[in-house]
């Protein structure tokens, strides 16, 4: 059969299966290969709550979506064009998102009576005519995988586990992808030669199946995107944060210390940094969140570039420690990879609802700098910026990321370390004129290390006297110090570059976002601007302090819209500080925004009067 090759500009594919089916591996392999093929792309891994939910259950469905294109890509895509469903539960959970007329590739072997019942279907959806609105491709992926690896005489469990590569092989053929990157990956990943060979055979068999079986009458081509020349790699938010901290250590000359307690979705940063002891990184897995932040405070006192990483519940536990860091005026970066709350909430799902906690979650007047990363790659630069401010202003900085940014990946232009600006750090060594709470032009106090002869001094959480740092209960001094702690933050704002506005620089509507809403807002704004409305987009990096020019920027537009993955937190801060009639567009479903949702919100506010 002569098969045709059809050219398309943009495709979104979702791989879905049991959490044990290897869907995340399949997704990341497809991502790497697609990036190498020169497409722009964005991904969204969606993990189930359970590590290993019962096989075939709805709770155990794991998904990975990727959108790739010959055009610029801002989001992982709203409705996928292709769904690969490894079992009935995966179909049940994901079918509602599949585009009408979209392609469904189903592993027919897994549609047994038991699995169909378990997924809550009354009849087999592949047979009962309920999928007529889609292009359904039934393939016995499991059976063909077993056949492909038969000669290797693996036990059944190992043999079946190769099926994700069979599925990947089919999709590689469908989109004209080279398998070589994955072949190399399998060879380096599977040390057992039998398993390695089995996975390679499954991948190849899937590819040949696509090519030869009559099931598919065509394959697709997505041309290369116009991407600025340079060196690229794929990067996830947690990887970028880890590399950003390593870079900040190098740029400042400081030794890196991380005190951390395992928590989803932040633990990967601990894992990553723990594996770079050759760079002198000291990681300390503490007994709890409080010890994690306190050990980092001790390390900062001793001259480290000190970090602690956590998620929302951990940030709550660290509150008192962060207040201490604020009083001690020591540099400390606190990373909160946000997840859906409150309380335990939904650990594997994303949310941006810790903003107010980061801003206000401490006793007393305790202003802390808050910075947010807007995309996986941006995590790298945000980490460096947080470190720079922490050490040059001698203060704790909370860095907000979230589950979506942390786990999703994007192609990223690799920076050259040599061209990044150094972070200037100076320790105080002069005996003469030393006062623990004297201040420089940033209102930062001197960083005087233990071991410095003649600089012996005591610091603590009790209110301290201006300059000397001695204990003080003096009324006027407390007011002075409280106000100084606010002024210190203002110093950050005074040094910020002008805020970047994407889209129109004035006009009908300003959309203000922060964190992971960057991609969807960008896509939504671009889509509506095509119809002539004048819309600007500001993605705030600093949330405390706000940039000085923000108020003037807001005044240049008729309306202000604030989409957030929470019930309206940034919007509260903006309204309170600027008395601006900013409108909230909240979403709180444990999922990032879709482009269509942002388009809807923009149109709604533009049409309202």
């Amino acid at each position: 059969m002569q098969k045709v090759v059809e050219t398309v500009s943009t495709v979104a594919i979702r791989f879905a299966g049991d959490s044990g089916d290897g869907m995340q591996v399949t997704g990341s392999q497809f991502t790497d290969t697609t990036a190498l093929a020169g497409n722009d792309l964005a991904t969204f891994p969606d993990f189930p709550a359970e590590i290993r939910a019962p096989a075939g259950s709805l709770a155990g469905v794991s998904g990975f979506q990727i959108k790739f294109s010959s055009e610029a890509v801002f989001t992982p895509g709203d409705a996928p064009d292709v769904l690969v469903a490894m079992n009935p539960a995966a179909l049940k959970v994901n079918l509602k998102d599949l585009k009408p007329g979209g392609m469904l590739i189903a592993n027919s072997e897994a549609f047994t009576k038991k699995n169909i019942d378990y997924a809550g279907y009354a009849t087999n959806p592949l047979e009962d005519g309920s999928l007529t609105g889609f292009k359904v491709f039934k393939a016995d992926i499991t059976g063909m995988t077993l056949k492909a690896v038969e000669e290797l005489k693996l036990n059944n469990r190992h043999a079946v586990r190769c099926k994700n590569f069979f599925a990947l092989g089919i999709v590689y053929w469908l989109y004209g992808r080279e398998a070589s990157h994955t072949v190399e990956w399998i060879k380096s990943k599977f040390k057992d030669p039998q398993l390695c060979e089995a996975n390679l055979r499954a991948l190849k068999a899937g590819y040949h199946f696509g090519e030869t079986a009559e099931l598919f009458d065509r394959s697709y081509e997505v041309k290369q995107a116009k991407i600025a020349p340079g060196r690229y790699r794929n990067i996830s938010g947690n990887e970028a944060l880890s590399l950003g901290f390593l870079a900040a250590a190098e740029l400042s000359g400081l030794e890196l210390f991380l005190g951390s307690y395992p928590i989803t979705p932040a633990s990967d940063i601990l894992h990553e940094l723990a594996s770079h002891k050759q760079l002198g990184v000291r990681t300390f897995q503490a007994e709890d969140e409080i010890a994690a932040v306190c050990s980092a405070i001790g390390a900062a006192y001793s001259g480290a570039l000190a970090l602690t990483t956590t998620s929302g519940p951990g940030l709550a536990l660290k509150s008192e420690g962060i207040g201490l860091a604020l009083m001690l005026e020591l540099p400390l970066v606190i990373v909160d990879v946000q997840r859906a709350g409150p309380s335990t909430g939904m650990p594997t799902k994303t949310e941006q609802a810790d903003l107010l906690q980061a801003m206000y979650g401490r006793n007393g007047e305790a202003p802390v700098a808050v910075i947010a990363a807007k995309s996986p790659g941006d995590c790298f630069y945000t980490a460096i910026e947080a470190c720079r401010i922490a050490v040059t202003h001698m203060m704790p900085v909370i860095l907000l990321s979230d589950g979506f940014i942390a786990n999703s990946a994007e192609p990223w232009r690799i920076p050259e370390m040599a061209s990044l600006p150094k972070i200037p750090v100076k320790f105080w060594t002069e005996k003469e004129g030393f006062q623990p709470y004297a201040r420089d032009e940033n209102l930062a106090r001197p960083w005087a290390l233990p071991g410095s002869p003649g600089l012996e001094h005591r610091i603590g959480g009790i209110e301290k006297e201006h300059l000397t740092g001695n204990i003080s209960y003096d009324a006027a001094n407390h007011e002075l110090m409280s106000k100084l702690r606010y002024e210190r933050l203002q110093k950050i704002a005074d040094a910020l570059p002008p805020t970047e506005i994407e889209g129109d620089q004035a006009g009908d509507l300003l959309v203000i976002g922060w964190g992971d809403t960057y991609g969807p807002i960008q896509a939504g704004v671009e889509a509506v601007r095509k119809s002539g409305s004048k819309i600007g987009h500001v993605q705030l990096r600093w949330l405390n302090p706000f940039p000085n020019d923000l108020e003037a920027i807001m005044k240049r537009y008729k309306r202000v819209l604030v989409p957030e993955i929470n019930l309206g937190q940034l919007v509260k801060l903006l309204r309170a500080k600027y008395l601006v009639d900013a409108k909230s567009f909240p979403k709180i479903q444990g999922q990032p925004f879709k482009e269509s949702e942002i388009v809807f919100a923009i149109k709604q506010i533009l049409e309202a009067n």
């Binding site: 990036a35 190498l36 991407i227 600025a228 340079g230 060196r231 690229y232 790699r233 590399l243 390593l246 870079a247 190098e250 400042s252 000359g253 400081l254 030794e255 210390f257 005190g259 002891k277 050759q278 760079l279 000291r282 300390f284 503490a286 007994e287 409080i290 010890a291 994690a292 306190c294 050990s295 405070i297 001790g298 390390a299 900062a300 006192y301 001793s302 001259g303 480290a304 008192e320 420690g321 690799i414 920076p415 050259e416 370390m417 150094k422 100076k426 320790f427 060594t429 290390l449 233990p450 071991g451 002869p453 600089l455 012996e456 005591r458 610091i459 603590g460 959480g461 001695n470 204990i471």
Partner: protein, 344 residues
């Protein structure tokens, strides 16, 4: 690429020139007159100049409570941190700077109640720091509530009918946490306390010293049986490595173990000195048995319960870093370049 060396090179003070006065700050000491903390402060200030450590290399870290005011009175580096967390702060200090001599000062509420978790973990990790716990069996700074070491029935502000919770035994807990140096002394027993402090200072690893301390405002006389002239020799036993356990005015009484390893008080003359329990500070079992001796049935042991050597957390950490540096020498740029491709 990590050529930047921004850390200062210190010209250290010659420790042999240091005296007690060098360790006294200009801050007014704010403990209640008569508080046992004064004596402990004096002993610490006496011991510091004898250890051969330059003053600027000492760091005192405390939590919250009367005892935790301690760093303000020591002319060294110091952090007065938050309630219960001093061991965690100190762990961070020592992990970064193994060259420093780190001392944690804490109390029974600070270390065993709100900070119980950190107490346990610093001991098991064996971070090379000295942990002085002033045990006055009461909450002093919050003005008199019973503490986790108060005896059952303790009438205090929050327990008008007497406390109904059973106390914790700090030495036994420290043993359970696999502490490598565990000792006990008294605020008023100056020479004994100084000796214990010296031994603690010499220990490589977490050295835990429980110091019975009188709070003359809220719990006066809690240890009077153990400190008053008439009663102390019958109620305190000094344990010493390699020596039989003897006490009493003329050391006429001793501790022996019966066939089931249960301790009993015996008359040395009639029982025979050679059958007494001979203390061994390296024996875990000996420490466990002696840690369970409580007044009034038994004399209360003071001295070194346990002193064994095990690599400290900070030493192991540095060792891993040294070994890692000898292996792969990836730069940050190389890590960034991982998995790269070039777009032309």
């Amino acid at each position: 690429m990590r050529a930047l060396n921004i850390y200062p090179q210190f010209q250290h003070t010659d420790p042999s020139t240091q005296t007690r006065k060098d360790f006294v700050t200009d801050q007014d000491v704010r403990w209640c007159p008569g508080c046992g903390d004064y004596s402990i402060l004096a002993q610490v200030q006496r011991v510091m100049p004898t250890l051969g450590i330059p003053r600027e290399n000492y760091v005192f870290v405390s939590g919250i409570g009367c005892s935790s005011r301690f760093p303000y009175y020591m002319e060294t580096f110091g952090i007065h941190s938050i309630h219960g967390r001093a061991p965690a702060v100190a762990t961070g200090v020592k992990a970064m700077r193994p060259d420093l001599s780190v001392w944690v000062v804490t109390g029974d509420g600070d270390a065993l109640s709100i900070g119980g978790n950190h107490f346990m973990h610093v001991l098991r990790r064996n971070v090379d720091l000295k942990l002085l716990m002033f045990n006055n069996q009461i909450y002093g700074l919050t003005k008199g509530q019973y503490s986790p070491t108060s005896p059952v029935g303790k009438k205090a502000k929050s327990t008008p009918m007497g406390s109904i919770d059973y106390p914790i035994d700090p030495i036994s807990v420290a043993l359970g946490a696999n502490g490598t140096f565990i000792a006990r002394s008294f605020d008023v027993h100056a020479s004994h306390l100084q000796n214990i402090l010296k031994r603690a200072a010499e220990h490589k690893g977490t050295a835990f010293v429980e110091i019975y301390q009188n709070c003359n405002i809220f719990n006066d006389g809690a240890f009077s049986l153990l400190t008053e002239k008439e009663t102390k020799s019958d109620h305190v036993i000094e344990i010493e490595h390699g020596k039989p356990l003897r006490f009493g005015k003329n050391l006429e009484k001793g501790i022996a173990l019966d066939a089931s390893l249960t301790p009993k008080v015996v008359d040395v003359a009639s029982y025979g000195e050679d059958k007494l329990f001979v203390y061994d500070e390296t024996s875990e079992i000996a420490a466990l048995i002696v840690s369970r001796l409580h007044a009034p049935e038994f004399p209360v042991p003071i001295g070194v319960f346990r002193a064994v050597s095990r690599p400290s957390y900070d030493a192991l950490l540095v060792d891993q870093i040294d070994r890692a540096k000898k292996g792969k020498r990836e730069t940050v740029q190389e890590l960034l370049d991982d998995g790269q491709w070039t777009v032309k």
